[in-house]
């Protein structure tokens, strides 16, 4: 994996961003702190799912009710993006994206990770590492290519020249800008939020960072929503083509 390049212009920020808790796996240097928090998030989600489904009641209560509400939420989200006909097989993917990103963001904003000291780098939301967001965005790219090929076979490529072949370069470019914008939007928002909070905490340790932290909570939730929504929108676009298919 790539390490985020330390910016030489801002030495303070480079100290922040550029330091990672490296693990060496084969030829790869991976960011251990991201893995640790990711595992924590995954464990949290799995635990919540297990607890919610362990003793299923007809009339939901407690955590079952909460998780059913979450499921309803992601299902609505997928349905709004993909339409009544196509959304069902994509609920797990979009729902997983949303829940993982949401819980990651909020764990970064709510849990005092800095209590735990690593040999190098520090624990934070997994989504403030570009590698995580790029991985998620590439998964979205794979998903929408898969959706398009599965629905139309090689006819999927027809959409690149569909309104007019003049737009072919732009259509091809879109396949690169989509994961790029997805990953950088999420990464940038989360990292910027954490940096702003960190800087404010350095300047005024008490109370002043509170509004920014609350705003950060809001932004984090919105970013998770945006990521999942855009994933749904891209998959829908791949499924539908440029409008010709809708008349069938």
């Amino acid at each position: 994996m790539l390490s985020f390049p330390a910016t030489p212009i801002l030495p303070l920020a480079s100290l922040e961003v550029g330091h990672h808790f490296y693990w060496q796996i084969g030829n790869l240097k991976v960011h251990g702190q991201v893995f640790l928090v990711s595992w924590f998030v995954i464990a949290l989600l799995v635990l919540a799912s297990v607890l919610a489904t362990r003793n299923i009641q007809r009339i939901p209560s407690g955590i079952q009710n909460l998780m059913e509400y979450a499921l309803d939420f992601v299902r609505e989200l997928a349905k709004n993006q993909l339409g009544e006909k196509e959304f069902r097989p994509w609920v797990p993917f979009i729902g997983t994206l949303f829940l993982f990103i949401f819980v990651s963001n909020w764990s970064g904003a709510l849990i005092p990770w800095k209590l735990i000291k690593l040999p190098e780098g520090e624990l934070a939301a997994p989504t403030n590492d570009i590698n995580t967001t790029v991985a998620l965005a590439l998964l979205v790219s794979l998903a929408y290519f898969y959706a398009g090929f599965r629905k139309k076979g090689l006819g999927y490529f027809a959409k690149y020249v569909q309104p007019t072949p003049v737009l072919l370069p732009i259509a091809i470019l879109e396949d690169f800008t989509k994961p790029l914008s997805l990953s950088f939007r999420l990464f940038g928002n989360i990292l910027a939020d954490e940096l702003v909070v960190a800087v404010l905490v350095l300047l005024v340790p008490l109370f002043v960072p509170l509004p920014v932290m609350l705003l950060g909570l809001f932004t984090s939730a919105i970013q998770a929503l945006v990521f999942a929504t855009l994933a749904g929108a891209y998959i829908h676009e791949a499924l539908e083509g440029h409008g010709e298919e809708e008349h069938h």
């Binding site: 303070l12 100290l15 007809r58 509400y69 735990i116 905490v201 350095l202 932290m213």
Partner: protein, 184 residues
């Protein structure tokens, strides 16, 4: 995010920092770890989120309850209606069986009546035919008899001149007279 602080303090506490960089540990600095603010944020989130989320969840729960209750009510109604209709069906089947039985009965009766009637008709026809036959036969016999008589008379009349002479005439007359006499 303690790096600016670290940066500032590095000058003074370089030795201590260097030794701490080595491994895992717990950072005891409450201000540096932003613990107070995080606690406040978590508290606020808990306080408001609890009410908000709690309301959403209880609404959801009650709407599910209502939906289930309604569905169960409808199910009961449907079961009642089903039982009702089944009863009606049974009644109708009974009625149909009754109608069929009575129809069978009536069919048998009608058949018997028709057969009897036919029998009677046949009898009557046969009788009338027999009567006709008798009449016809007696008529034919009478006709034949008359014809034979006529023919016999003709023949007798034809033969009479050749056979009849005085002697014969006399003997006949005599015989007749004697017969008359014999009879008296």
């Amino acid at each position: 995010m303690s790096m600016l602080g670290t940066f500032v303090w590095l000058v003074a506490e370089a030795g201590a920092e260097a030794s701490e960089e080595g491994g895992f540990g717990i950072n005891p600095d409450i201000l540096e770890t932003n613990l107070v603010n995080l606690a406040i944020v978590a508290g606020l989130l808990f306080y408001f989120g609890r009410g908000f989320l709690g309301k959403i969840l209880s609404d959801r729960r009650s709407s599910i309850e209502a939906a289930i209750r309604e569905a169960e009510e409808r199910k009961q109604q449907a079961a009642a209606a089903l039982a009702d209709e089944q009863q009606k069906l049974a009644q109708a089947q009974q009625e149909a069986a009754r109608i069929r039985a009575s129809a069978d009965e009536r069919a048998v009766a009608t058949k018997a009546a028709i057969l009897e009637q036919a029998e009677r008709d046949i009898q009557r026809l046969r009788e009338s035919v027999t009567q006709d036959l008798d009449t016809e036969r007696s008529r034919a016999i009478a006709e034949l008899r008359q014809r034979i008589t006529t023919l016999a008379l003709q023949k007798a009349e034809a033969e009479l001149p050749s056979r009849l002479n005085d002697d014969v005439q006399r003997s006949i007359v005599d015989r007749s007279i004697s017969m008359l006499g014999g009879a008296s």
